[in-house]
Subunit: 199 residues, 2 copies
């Protein structure tokens, strides 16, 4: 027998779940394999998690909470909206590099009814943060007047999918600077190009 503290076992299982779920997706992943990767018996998994669903939810939530904390801090603490946007983008791009697997799981399991509400809530919150940045930018005069809700959706969409592209394909690397620049200045030629000298 392999003796460990309960806390360590639970952590092991969560780590293993991350590996297996991201490799296989929820439906294809199976408890036997998660147990094997964790170095624990099948029954052992059920000591710490009621069932497969709860295990899945548990580690999905961890990731979302972490991101919420980081991004909220940025939006609350920063003065310049341009800089806040930059940092907001940076957190997401860094997370894409660091947690490729987690992102793939997120996206892949979009349709799951039982995790859906949490994910929607998370997306709504992130959207709210972007709206906040844009609102402030318009008030300070740095950003142009626009349909805040629509623009926020587009930006948040861009961020999500840049993350996805990077998670899917290791060779795809989008720099925070490049993304920030495009969002601020657009494609057209005769726009000002001062954005990277962040004020």
């Amino acid at each position: 027998m392999n003796r460990r503290s309960g806390i360590e076992s639970k952590k092991r299982i969560l780590d293993a779940a991350m590996v297996v779920f991201s490799r296989q997706g929820y439906a294809k992943a199976n408890i036997r394999e998660i147990a094997k990767v964790a170095g624990i018996s099948v029954g052992g998994v059920y000591l710490y998690f009621k069932n497969k669903e709860e295990l899945y939810l548990s580690f999905i939530k961890d990731g979302m909470n972490d991101m919420m904390r980081k991004t909220e801090m940025i939006v609350e603490s920063h003065r310049s909206p341009i800089r806040a946007l930059y940092d907001f983008l940076k957190v997401h791009i860094n997370s894409a590099i660091k947690h490729r697997e987690l992102i793939l799981v997120h996206v892949r399991e979009l349709g799951f009814t039982f995790a859906l509400e949490h994910k929607r809530q998370y997306m709504r919150n992130q959207l709210r943060l972007v709206e906040k940045i844009i609102d402030r930018g318009i008030r300070t005069g740095e950003f142009r007047r626009c349909n805040v809700k629509e623009v926020a959706k587009i930006i948040m969409g861009t961020v999500r999918s840049v993350m996805l592209s990077m998670a899917m394909d290791k060779d795809v690397i989008v720099t925070t600077k490049g993304l920030h620049d495009l969002i601020l200045n657009g494609l057209l030629r005769n726009n000002n190009q001062l954005a990277d000298n962040r004020r």
Copy 2:
């Protein structure tokens, strides 16, 4: 017995596959249900498709081919890059409205090894089209000089995720015009706002 032409049966099965795969994802979807929705027996499905995998591939490919045809036409035929970009965005947004389910399947099954190569190929092709538009725009002087490959990735990413947002949530509606405008002009205030008078 329910007698039909082979062609009609095959079409029925493909339609049913679309419904069931998009509701459940590949792994969770099962042949019995696809058969039921198609109004055909379980064995009947195997008359037209070697196995579940081939059935899945078959209908995924149909959708991708359709999009490739439409977008290629736009990029080849148009003179103004600004207009080409607009039409390119429009095709994608319209497709998001029309084929919500298909998009969800696409995204959800990202990790499947057997469909992966086709999807990657599709994404590469779409990327090439965007690069073509940008390249031409820079040559005509309409677009500013930029890292074409990176910008294309970001734009393509934006498009994908706007589609995804709309597929996930019926209430999310991003207009082609809004997206086009943001891509061209960015967020900053003192940029020119002439893009919507498409030349």
